[in-house]
């Protein structure tokens, strides 16, 4: 660092002092600059590191002093106590004023509100779905991330085929030989006739084996689930009702235990009611759960789920399942002899890959995030245009002594009120649309939602983005500050507003929607 450059740095220091410490008079600043020159020169004689340390210390001190002086100035200018109680009347007035402003400008408010409700509603709905399908797992299951499902993979001439359906023997070998799983259960869901004579209807009934309910760790709402060692041969035909079937067919009678329900023409004794939302390890609806007997168990293939022991992983469970399968191949049906067994999380679909519902939900979440961004841009744009139209009003407020912070608070409160109202309405949308979307996502109903969402986004993106700079230009608050003793609204501005209020609103909305 040459002496000339050092003096240039000294000038910078003096400039910073002048700009930052405005409370010091010129003599103090001159003394401080002279002292700093001495300190720098002294440090330079020692080492360049010491010189850098002096600079660092000085800049830190400058920042701290500036901050302390700013705080002290704020304290002295606001003599009134800034407590919540003291500020409440002004705040209430601002809220009322903001609400009145929004009501006065109905069309703009309605459009902004509608945008927010749609944007936030779609987001809340999809986030709920993503949470259920990807993060939380099926309802009413304890620690679903510790559950794994066993699959078989068969190499065929047309490629590898993966399926969760396993013969009873394979399930029994896994159940008896596993060390990676704490408990293993099997289940399957099929369409079954439920009820008697004219009241009979086709419902989805799950059949379970062994410690199925213990594996899931679900707590019954009423009564009990099937016990790990319980089989229909000894216990008789038993049934656990779903919460919805209990409410629709038994009027949510708490004394339902022991009553009879015909399934496939056979009377089953009700032993319990599953908690609301319980659908087993899969996401689809299940109306009742029965206990399989030995004859029917041998006639069906089963989906096998297990709860991993502490320390065990899906990969180690996979390896163990294959080991057990190879060891017991002779006892199992011939068709599964060549299969390769593997384990996968229960959020995966029947092909042991991330389910199509989860993929759609992820896709929808991304799209809905874009929608929310576009919605926010739209609303911001709309509010900016609205603010630009109010320059005259803001100018008068400034001229009458309104502080910048107070005016900004008024403007911010309007946005806040819109967001609160939009948020409340979007919660209602999410509550209503959630189940509809969930039904649409399950097999047979998927496909329309992403297309619709993408269409909306593609239609609205250009309008919002192109008009943002225009709105920002219109906001230029400097135009709203009193200039040369006159209110700024009296000067010609770049935003020319039509005479009629309704036409102005329509123009604002149309500029936001269309390019």
């Amino acid at each position: 660092v040459t002496p000339r450059r050092r003096s240039r740095l000294g000038e910078i220091h003096s400039w910073v002092l002048r700009r930052v410490l405005t409370s010091l008079d010129a003599a103090d600043r001159a003394d401080a600059a002279a002292d700093f020159n001495w300190l720098r020169a002294e440090a330079w004689r020692r080492s360049s590191r010491a010189w850098l340390r002096v600079w660092w210390r000085e800049l830190r001190a400058l920042a701290r002093t500036w901050w302390e002086e700013r705080r002290a100035a704020r304290r002295s200018t606001t003599a009134a106590p800034r407590t919540a109680r003291a500020m409440a009347p002004a705040f209430a007035y601002d809220v009322r004023h903001a609400a009145r402003g929004l009501v006065r400008d109905r069309s703009v408010t309605a459009f902004a509100l509608l945008s927010l409700v749609l944007g936030m509603g779609v987001n809340a709905t999809t986030i709920d779905l993503v949470d259920r399908l990807l993060l939380r797992g099926p309802d009413a299951i304890a620690h679903p991330d510790r559950l794994a499902r066993i699959y078989r993979r068969l190499d065929t001439p047309v490629g590898a085929q993966t399926s969760p359906w396993l013969p009873l023997e394979t399930y029994e070998h896994l159940r008896d030989g596993t060390h990676e799983f704490a408990v293993v259960g099997a289940y399957g869901v099929r369409d079954t006739t439920v009820g008697r004579a004219a009241d009979s209807r086709m419902l989805l009934v799950g059949m379970s084996l062994g410690g199925f309910f213990r594996t899931l760790g679900t707590v019954p709402e009423v009564g009990r689930f099937f016990l790990p060692g319980e089989v229909a041969d000894s216990a008789g035909p038993l049934v656990v009702l779903s919460d919805s079937l209990w409410r629709t067919s038994f009027s949510a009678d708490p004394a339902v235990i022991g009553r009879s329900l015909d399934i496939d023409g056979v009377p089953h004794a009700v032993v319990g009611v599953a908690p609301p939302g319980f659908t087993g390890p899969d996401v689809g609806r299940v109306d009742a759960w029965t206990l399989a007997d030995r004859r029917s168990a041998g006639a069906y293939n089963w989906k096998v789920v297990g709860r991993l022991r502490p320390g065990a992983s899906v990969a180690s469970a996979s390896a163990e399942a294959q080991r057990l399968h190879i060891r017991a191949t002779d006892d199992e049906p011939k068709w599964i002899g060549n299969a390769f067994l593997l384990a996968a999380p229960i959020t995966y679909d029947d092909t042991a890959s991330e389910s199509i519902q989860a993929r759609i939900a992820t896709w929808m979440a991304a799209v809905s995030a874009i929608i929310l961004t576009v919605t926010c841009a739209n609303v911001v744009n709309l509010l900016l245009v609205r603010l630009a139209r109010r320059q005259r009003e803001i100018g008068v407020r400034v001229a009458l002594g309104g502080s910048r912070s107070r005016i900004m608070r008024l403007v911010a409160l309007e946005g806040l009120l819109l967001v609160v109202a939009g948020g409340a309405a979007s919660l209602w949308i999410a509550e209503t649309a959630g189940p509809v979307l969930a039904v649409a996502l399950f097999p047979g109903g998927a496909g329309w939602a992403p297309a619709a969402v993408a269409t909306v986004v593609l239609a609205r993106c250009p309008g919002a983005i192109e008009h943002l700079p225009e709105g920002l230009k219109a906001l230029d608050m400097r135009n709203a500050v009193v200039h040369e003793g006159r209110a700024p609204g009296l000067f010609p501005t770049e935003v020319t507003a039509p005479a009629s209020s309704a036409r102005r609103s329509l123009l604002s909305i149309s500029t936001v929607i269309h390019t």
Partner: protein, 131 residues
Amino acid sequence: MELMLRPSRDPRPLLPLPPHDLYILLALLDQAMHGYGIIQDVARRTDGETALGTSTVYAALKRLLAAGVIVETGRPAGERSGDKRRRYYRATPFGHTVAREAASDLARLHGLVREAKLLGRAAPASGRSRP
């Protein structure tokens, strides 16, 4: 006419003094100094651990002057080095009172810290100290 004693100012509203203000006041208790001298004196007293920035010093000097804790004074006799235009400061009698009050506050606090055995003193073997 009877002479009335001027009521002494209460130092309490100024307490607790910010650490930097106290350092500066301690430097100015015994002798008059200019800003650069104060920075060097504080660094010497704290073995270089506390190095004040010039903005910190002059902002604090302004505060202390306004509170009547220090006063601007002429160049001390025997002071030969440095710029003749420099301004010197020293503590007022009120500044001495403020420094004493601040010191007694710190002593009280130090006593509490000692009682809490936070300074690593070994506890007596009996587990209880004698009165």
